[in-house]
């Protein structure tokens, strides 16, 4: 993971270097003269060679210093920290929701294979991955907020201020963001369960007289879930990138919307910090998934396979 994180950070650094526009000129604006240009360039370390600049950047990032926003001069760290809770709430809600939907649909559709439920789950898992989140979000806003007026069309209320408003505003964006993950997981859980239900030990369990619910939930599901655990890492990645879009659609004040607004304003330090944070979370999620994987399936051992 360390070399991967290192290479990923180099890529991000080089991408920033490719970005058009001279940051010194942007920061100085109208007041640019030859002297203060050179002075600021020196202060920012931009007169150093790239490896030195990279090392400086990494050491700043390690200390939590992501530089200053070009738009309003505020520290990027503060801008992000102010919006992180909103994104976390939305992301976790979407993850929980997608797993709940996928487990229910996946199990039901595997058990009642040739029933309407099975058909619906298959259709849902194929359609769900092909609809863009922003389109679904707009349809939801139009149907449930503007027409039926069940929910407010967007924006955010802190849980501490008004829990019921918080929930009402959370539901539509969370459902939208959960859709992709729910669709992919449903498919995995369904096919995993269908595979395990053919195994000999399932027949043994049935022969021993276990009830059908016990056979499916206790014996089959545990093994069937192993492949979908690996998917969890990817799913968190999908939620991270989905947050950019869903937050924009629902005017949700999280880091995704901040990044999209900053893209429009060419405020690249913020974009870079948000992407870096997302990469970090994604790597961490995948690491945890690997650990969980070894724990769930004792046949997999990372230590043994290396030696």
């Amino acid at each position: 993971m360390i070399p991967v994180a290192f290479l990923a950070s180099v890529m991000l650094f080089l991408l920033l270097k490719l970005t058009p526009g001279d940051p010194v000129l942007i920061m100085l604006g109208e007041k640019a003269t030859a002297q203060n240009y050179e002075a600021l360039r020196h202060d920012l370390g931009l007169d150093q060679p790239y490896p030195v600049q990279y090392a400086r950047w990494v050491s700043h990032v390690m200390e939590g210093d992501f530089g200053k926003s070009i738009r309003n001069g505020a520290p990027v760290k503060d801008e992000i920290l102010a919006r992180l809770p909103a994104t976390l709430q939305l992301g976790i809600a979407a993850l929980v929701l997608s797993l709940a939907v996928a487990l229910t649909l996946g199990i039901l559709s595997a058990v009642f294979r040739r029933s309407p439920v099975g058909f619906f789950a298959t259709a849902f898992s194929q359609v769900g991955v092909a609809v863009p989140g922003f389109f679904v979000g707009l349809v939801f806003i139009y149907v449930f907020a503007l027409s039926l007026r069940w929910f407010p069309p967007g924006s955010y209320t802190a849980f501490g201020d008004d829990p019921s408003q918080w929930l009402r505003r959370l539901i539509l964006p969370a459902v939208t963001l959960s859709l992709f993950g729910a669709a992919t997981q449903t498919r995995f859980i369904r096919s995993g369960l269908l595979d395990t239900l053919h195994q000999d030990y399932i027949r043994t369990a049935r022969a021993k007289g276990f009830g059908e619910a016990s056979v499916i939930l206790k014996h089959a599901l545990r093994n069937a879930l192993i492949p979908s655990v690996t998917l969890l890492g990817l799913q968190i990645g999908a939620i991270l990138e989905g947050a950019f879009i869903v937050e924009s659609v629902f005017a949700w004040p999280g880091i995704g919307r901040l990044a999209v607004q900053s893209l429009g304003a060419r405020d690249y330090p913020i974009v870079q910090a948000v992407v870096l944070l997302a990469v970090f979370v994604f790597l961490l999620a995948n690491l945890l998934v690997d650990i969980a994987y070894a724990y769930l399936d004792p046949r997999i051992s990372y230590v043994r396979s290396r030696s």
Partner: protein, 300 residues
């Protein structure tokens, strides 16, 4: 070329014809066994035709504004209504097929070319080449895909061309991993060793003996990554860093529609449905091809 071949080698011609007929028969059989192959292949064919003949099909110029006809409702004159500056939405959706399918073709070509050659090299040469390339691809996979595309497009500057490049780059890992894994598997076969023994060069072994054996999974991946490309492009367009106005791009059209959702809720319907149909058909075609080419890999 085939005419020349037929003249100089009279025996080869019937053999070729036979081969062609056998192939056509095989394809027809596969289509009958996997009807999805035919259905979604046909839908994609129609979409390609729509893109190619957009000027004939579209009733209006997609860029023609009409200040007197802003946000009109769907009507026989404007099947999907008009947008916020009076452009015919239906014509824009039709022309949008050109952009989306064009991006799919170019992005997949970029990803396929780079990913496959890197994967072939890594798998066949091994050693430090493999180590280096694999680490680079791992680092790319450390980014959630669309975020990498956003970062690349932001760095290169927002435009259709750069969005295509970005969408292509983020899919390099798919082809790299696929090609590498397949090569590792195929190169252990005796016919590869035999080719090396009789003195075939590395490029010849790769091109002549290994490539044909890994073509099937690559075709499947190309179809599925066409759908990913179109979805990713739509996301870039929606957040405003993909194709720039006034290009009729489906993602940016939905962005425009989102601003006038209260007044003209129907406006996002056309591009939304277009994205869905295209993405869905490519992904279903990919699934169907996988089933037809390798029934062992069937999911569900």
């Amino acid at each position: 070329m085939s005419a020349v071949a037929a003249e100089s080698k009279p025996i080869a011609a019937p053999a070729r014809l036979d081969e062609q007929r056998r192939r056509a028969e095989r394809l027809w059989k596969a289509c009958r066994r996997y009807p999805r192959l035919l259905i979604f292949g046909a839908i994609i064919g129609v979409l390609i035709l729509i893109g190619l003949f957009a000027p004939i099909i579209a009733p209006y110029d997609p860029l023609q504004t009409a200040p007197s006809q802003v946000l009109t409702q769907p009507s026989p004159a404007h099947l999907l209504g008009t947008d916020n500056i009076g452009r015919d939405q239906f014509s824009r959706v039709i022309y949008g097929a050109r952009i989306s399918l064009g991006v799919a073709v170019i992005a997949v070509t970029i990803a396929l070319t780079f990913g496959m050659s890197m994967g072939l090299a890594a798998g066949y040469v091994g050693g430090w080449v493999d180590q280096t390339l694999s680490r680079v691809v791992d680092a790319m996979l450390a980014f959630p895909g669309v975020l990498l595309a956003i970062a690349i497009t932001a760095a290169l500057g927002p435009s259709l061309r750069n969005a295509m490049i970005a969408v292509g780059i983020i899919q390099i890992p798919v082809y790299f991993r696929l090609a590498r894994a397949q090569v590792l598997q195929v190169r252990e076969h005796e016919f590869v060793t035999a080719a090396a023994v009789i003195g075939a060069s590395r490029p010849r072994i790769l091109g002549r003996h290994i490539m044909p054996n890994i073509a099937n999974p690559l075709i499947v991946a190309a179809s599925i990554s066409s759908s990913t490309s179109i979805l990713a492009l739509a996301a870039l367009g929606f957040i405003g860093i993909g194709p720039q106005p006034p290009d009729p791009d489906w993602g940016s059209m939905i962005n425009t529609a989102s601003g006038v959702l209260g007044q003209a809720p129907w406006l996002s319907f056309g591009p939304g449905l277009a994205i869905f149909i295209t993405v869905f058909s490519f992904s279903m075609l990919g699934d169907a091809m996988r089933d037809a080419l390798d029934p062992r890999l069937r999911i569900n």
